[in-house]
Symmetry: C2
Subunit: 124 residues, 2 copies
Amino acid sequence: MPTISGHTKAIRARKVIGTNVKDPSGKKIGAIEDVMLDKESNDIMFAVAGFGGLLGVAEKYHPMPWSALEFNEDQDAYVVNYTREQLQGAPAGSIDELTRDDGMLFRERSYAYYKEPRYWESTD
Amino acid sequence: MPTISGHTKAIRARKVIGTNVKDPSGKKIGAIEDVMLDKESNDIMFAVAGFGGLLGVAEKYHPMPWSALEFNEDQDAYVVNYTREQLQGAPAGSIDELTRDDGMLFRERSYAYYKEPRYWESTD
């Protein structure tokens, strides 16, 4: 069956969750555990990646800007341009911590760390 | 444990999926099956509700504007202001149909049917 994900920009959360995350060399470094949504606006706040076992930091969730995740058909994974070391130093916390303060704190830290455009400040 | 969902506008897709949908009288009419995300923008396109068994239309998924879903703590559900008859006549299709054309067709039909503000046309 041809993958639908490659031919549509509409992607279901259920398909995103569980998708592997790999580094540019194709090595698996984790998986998407969840997607944080903004109830009041129509925005995806960030993806939640789990690098726990692989990075040696157990039970930590990494907020990652949605725009930082590029799906790679061949790898069947999101390939991110970060080294293991960069990810180890990235903002991370428990799910409860990530949702605190309306998710604003970790959104802020995550977008700053990964240097992704802050969608909530865009003004066309 | 106090529900976090009521005190933060950041909500995880995993918590949204599986949440019941009830009519204003408190009667369960379905549940959220998925959330459609826009890969190219930062937008939540629509929620995907399943009313199959309850509305008597098997295996159909109903795209619903994210803004139409109001979480009700007491009901532990999204309470929607639509009658069973209104929902039976609402846009619906298979998951494949919902993702076709980048999800645009069903987004269009859904927002028109439920008369929700079209977030993609907002200009501040």
